[in-house]
Chain length 449, copies 2
Amino acid sequence: MKIKKSGEKEGMSVKVSAYKGMRDFLPEDMLKRNFVISIIKEVFENYGFEPIETPAIELWSVLSGKYGDEEKLLYKFKDRGEREVGLRYDLTVPLARFVANHLQKLPRPFKRYQIQPVWRADKPQKGRFREFYQCDIDIIGVNSLLADAEILKILYTILKKLGFDNFIININSRKIFKTLVEYLQVDEKKEFLIARAIDKYDKLGEKGVKEQLEKTGFSENERGKIFTLLEITGTNSEKISKLNKIFEGLSTREPFIQEIQEILKYLEYFSVDEKYINFNPFLARGLDYYTGIISETTLTTPKIGSITGGGRYDNLIGIFSGQNIPATGSSIGLERIITVMDELNMYPFDKKTVVQVLFAVQDEKLLKKTISLTEELRKEGIKTDLYLGKKDLRKQITYALNKGIPLMLILGEEENKKGELTLKNLINREQTRVKQDKIINHIRELLHE
Amino acid sequence: MKIKKSGEKEGMSVKVSAYKGMRDFLPEDMLKRNFVISIIKEVFENYGFEPIETPAIELWSVLSGKYGDEEKLLYKFKDRGEREVGLRYDLTVPLARFVANHLQKLPRPFKRYQIQPVWRADKPQKGRFREFYQCDIDIIGVNSLLADAEILKILYTILKKLGFDNFIININSRKIFKTLVEYLQVDEKKEFLIARAIDKYDKLGEKGVKEQLEKTGFSENERGKIFTLLEITGTNSEKISKLNKIFEGLSTREPFIQEIQEILKYLEYFSVDEKYINFNPFLARGLDYYTGIISETTLTTPKIGSITGGGRYDNLIGIFSGQNIPATGSSIGLERIITVMDELNMYPFDKKTVVQVLFAVQDEKLLKKTISLTEELRKEGIKTDLYLGKKDLRKQITYALNKGIPLMLILGEEENKKGELTLKNLINREQTRVKQDKIINHIRELLHE
């Protein structure tokens, strides 16, 4: 790298900022993000899922035609060889391309997870970013509803581990819209129109959804019938009974009802507490590619939209490989989860730094000894910062306090003569002298290790 | 996401590939990459360094004029609002922008590390990618050579921990080129020309470097004198003595010699074995921004170029903030390290999967029990894959063998009657029956946990 010198005066300030809608993460942000990501990864791997990564840039031919109206939100450009390319917009289309390219090498079933940033040329606003992490888990090559149930159990386990308790995993089957189409006696292609309209219920409310249904050709009677789905209440099995009655005599009733019953049975096998599962016949998920069980997790408070979303999509993964490859999976809304955990202060730590001990540097003559003691701590796995700035002790204490470092060690001439160290506990402000050869155990105790 | 249906027939194959020069990482690649990254992070944090992240996209005004001739290798494009932007090319310029934007919030000294992909619109070739991870560590706001020494100790510790022993950390001070300029009695601006030319020695050899020096105006006598640096051999202190003699009487000799002596002293304080440190007066690092100690790590075999590179750069971090902020740091060549570790099979494991146990699924009647036992293993932290494909047992064994899963559990009717499980050890092909309530301990033992 070469810095242009011309016109650049030393000390001259240039006004700069990050690109709008994208974020810098400071160490204390990273501490929280890494905590959440590490729990997610731990659960994924505990369930036998394995990580993959795909490139930031994909050929435009891979991306185009996959995102419908949203295609305009892709970062698209030409490379130096005039090839049209785009930035990763989600992790699902790259997965389909990945599966096509590595089909022979991949196990079947293929259980993968992927945690990478995606980019969207959207208008930045509160909580909506142009760069954010997506976190996806999918099972490729399995028809069985066991796979759908396992994904839901994983979501449940992760949320519990992160400390959430006020969540509901809403489930439904996209097959309900086939049944609904038969029930309404409308063209079967209208299935997607219903799903897309209902999906906007949270945003537009009843009036808005009804308007959209009207616009796409549903009569008042039909619109009313669609909205009866909202009125089906009770326990999960009560709702199933009610729908079973409403849809009586329809040929598409059985596959739908059976699917819901089977997923609920499997969730019981997986020991998912039923109170977290809500069969919601009005859940749609607007994307056209879903074919079976769909799910969305919401929190009772705060209201922040869904924190997971996914389902079965049996016709997408094969589009590049020309094979029929069933698949089911879910996205975990990492950024929303972090936002809520920040808001509710849900982290099981209040530290702002990874550093456990600051070793002060005071006396040039004692430098060799100071470094050697610091290195001993590090060798024992104690995260130790050796202060490298000015030797003023007050500055060093301020540095430790500002960073939130809990412990500080000082080696002065007097301490050294006695083979001791001064240990400052910056949490309770206590100060003691400790023998140098006892320091590791002493610190371990204080750090509750 | 909506899939375009028009023209897209189900089962129709579309030929696709990843964008050239960028890589997909399969689970077994990720296992190795994550191993290397986790060791690097562990050492960084053990030394009190903390992670940050910056966005993939930066405003063009931040990037332009920072990379000299290499600027043409940046991915540059316009966003939807016609703003000129570029993709992250390295982690140093973003760091300078980051420091300017968060100056008030950052501790001083600020010790940060950053591991993120960067993008270069380069011609792809063996070992050179358009997307690769960079891994940087820097100390911001410290003049002391202690900081330079600590960085070198960290590099040393990481390489040792990864299993390298045949490495040499070459060090020099950029101050040597000021002394050389005085020695040659040429214009002091020529310092950079010498550094840039010498930096290409590995690529161009003596002849090529001499040609470049000639082209930039150095006489034959001057070129010869520059090359005497190559002839200075011996131990580190012998080389210092020799240079001390050659540069006798020059006013710039002292600062240079002192700097080398001091860094060697500090490296001794940090217990870095001297045999890994080579004071190499011919080490240049071509980048104009270095101001003090510079370093590069090479392997004796295989010949792969440098696997770390860095130095002190006191005038770069402040360019956006208008302050004078000293800094020193190093890049670790993650991709090259992984390449070498792959080649020499240096990983302390030969597994291809994170999965420790495959739980077979055979008998529909025993499904509930099978899942409940699988969940028990998972609760105990044993990474367990529940087989979700077809129930044919031979297929399941093949799946486990292909993935390299070491253990397999089977619950058949007979096993269940006796409260047992069949445990297949797929490494030594032994098969035993184990009581269901003893299975956790049994597996732990086999996994050597």
